[in-house]
Symmetry: C2
Subunit: 335 residues, 2 copies
Amino acid sequence: MPSPVNRQWLLASRPSGMVGPQHLTLREQPLPEPGAGEIVVRTRLLSLDPANRAWMSPVPTYKAPVAPGDVMHGFALGEVVASKVTDIAVGDLVDGMLGWQDYAVMKPADVTRRDGRYRPEALMGVLGITGLTAYYGLREVGRPKPGETVLVSAAAGAVGSIAAQIARIEGCRVVGTAGGPEKCAWLTDTLGLDAAIDYKSADLRRALKEACPRGIDVYFDNTGGAVLQAALYQMNMGGRIVCCGNLSQYNAEKPEPGPIGVPGLLVVKRLRMEGFIVMDYFATRPQAEATLAKWIEEGRLKAAEDIVDGLEKAPEALAELFAGRNRGKLLVRVS
Amino acid sequence: MPSPVNRQWLLASRPSGMVGPQHLTLREQPLPEPGAGEIVVRTRLLSLDPANRAWMSPVPTYKAPVAPGDVMHGFALGEVVASKVTDIAVGDLVDGMLGWQDYAVMKPADVTRRDGRYRPEALMGVLGITGLTAYYGLREVGRPKPGETVLVSAAAGAVGSIAAQIARIEGCRVVGTAGGPEKCAWLTDTLGLDAAIDYKSADLRRALKEACPRGIDVYFDNTGGAVLQAALYQMNMGGRIVCCGNLSQYNAEKPEPGPIGVPGLLVVKRLRMEGFIVMDYFATRPQAEATLAKWIEEGRLKAAEDIVDGLEKAPEALAELFAGRNRGKLLVRVS
């Protein structure tokens, strides 16, 4: 049911350390009207991502930080409810940086029209930025060959769960790390990974050695921290580290030093460590989406979503994300 | 004058911390005879490189470490003085891992015939592995575009002095770091760099900001350590870090943590950090050598060599290398 007002979560104060509900505050505004050349989008699903935390800090990332008092930034899927442009109609499904609110006034250039034949949850997960991040990061940056060993950290997370499955589809031996025995069992039993390591309880270096007896060729890194450190020692000559995220550090009070072996092991083992941004690959987005959709249809790729109901729950849900309680893509159903 | 005996420097003990003459011991052996399928090479010029230190440690690099009691490994240029093979004749000039000795028994597959038209010093520097490392590392790994800013650490060293000059030839703004005002003046006045920073006295982060007002696009890293740390903060979006060496750490007693910003800044700025080994590019070695030779002939690339006379001086010279006293390629003239 549409909200009769526009509820907005504002950044109340910049978190130092772990983010929590105390850093956000709820405001109610009247429903917005579109100006000339604008549309109004009603949010249906809000994506919660580790990047949300980064946008709360004062340091610019690929976009400017959120200022205290501003509507919290967030990527979301929604339905157009008012339009003053010719090429987007009321009822169209679009995604973009709608923010943590019921209604967003947007310019057409800042949204992407999505295909209503797919489940909305899939459009925000495996068929959205999340799936494309896994797809391009693994294939274009990591470039695994069949038979190689691929390690994925936060493999039960949104991007990790897809990256790990794609690596399996590519014919690789795939090992994932996750927090806790339930998530690890899910990785091997449901997603079909070759091995899973509970990073909270394992001696990581030994566990990686055992799970990757022929070393690691591609490490898809969502976490940085201890898993990156252990992985560096096990990387094979010519190995590639896909720098996708730094989950272990987003809530750190101050920046930690990097892992031992940077740059020494990069020189000696000719390793490549590379960050990327999914938008750089969007020239082939339709083909990538079609491939991901085909894999889902064939049952080779499982979409995993974790849905929280109600915009009012968003701040708690973000804290849960960093506590590692979700499995797969974490979404807030707003309407 | 050829030595009447074969003098050999053996690794006496593995250094912990800074390497010095106490870690090597001299032995005299009779002149060797070639067996079937072998040649004997008389060393003319021995190359001293930071890698020598790495080979003394117990950790394998791209080759096995030197064992105590073994002849110290070293890359060298020499003249064939005896041959039991058909395709290499007495008088031929070859290079390879001849070791720290007057005479080496070699198999033809382990040496490369060199062109006697060039100066021997150039064959071991700008036209040898050193020059090719700079050439391929900068062009194939760093891939600078004209107008971009390139930073080179240890820019007065063997590889760095060539990499920096090639970056100038490619049309880049080039900034180098070196130890001491004399070397810095040499970089700007003789090699034509746009700016030089004395890493021993400068506030590196501020100095880099001033010398690279438009940020750094390619960092050719020969040192790791403080320069890498400062460079990471100044890297532009999509920047590339060529991991060529880790000079600041080779004599460290224990491994240091990596720089702050790995992997965080790699993710946010989409940076690529990549190690390489020059041999991987040898398919195009003749073209690369021809290009380097042409640049020298045209006066666009200056060869810089620092020659120490006498095999007996090799251990002291290696210590001098790590004290940063050489300028350009450090060679020992053996005969």
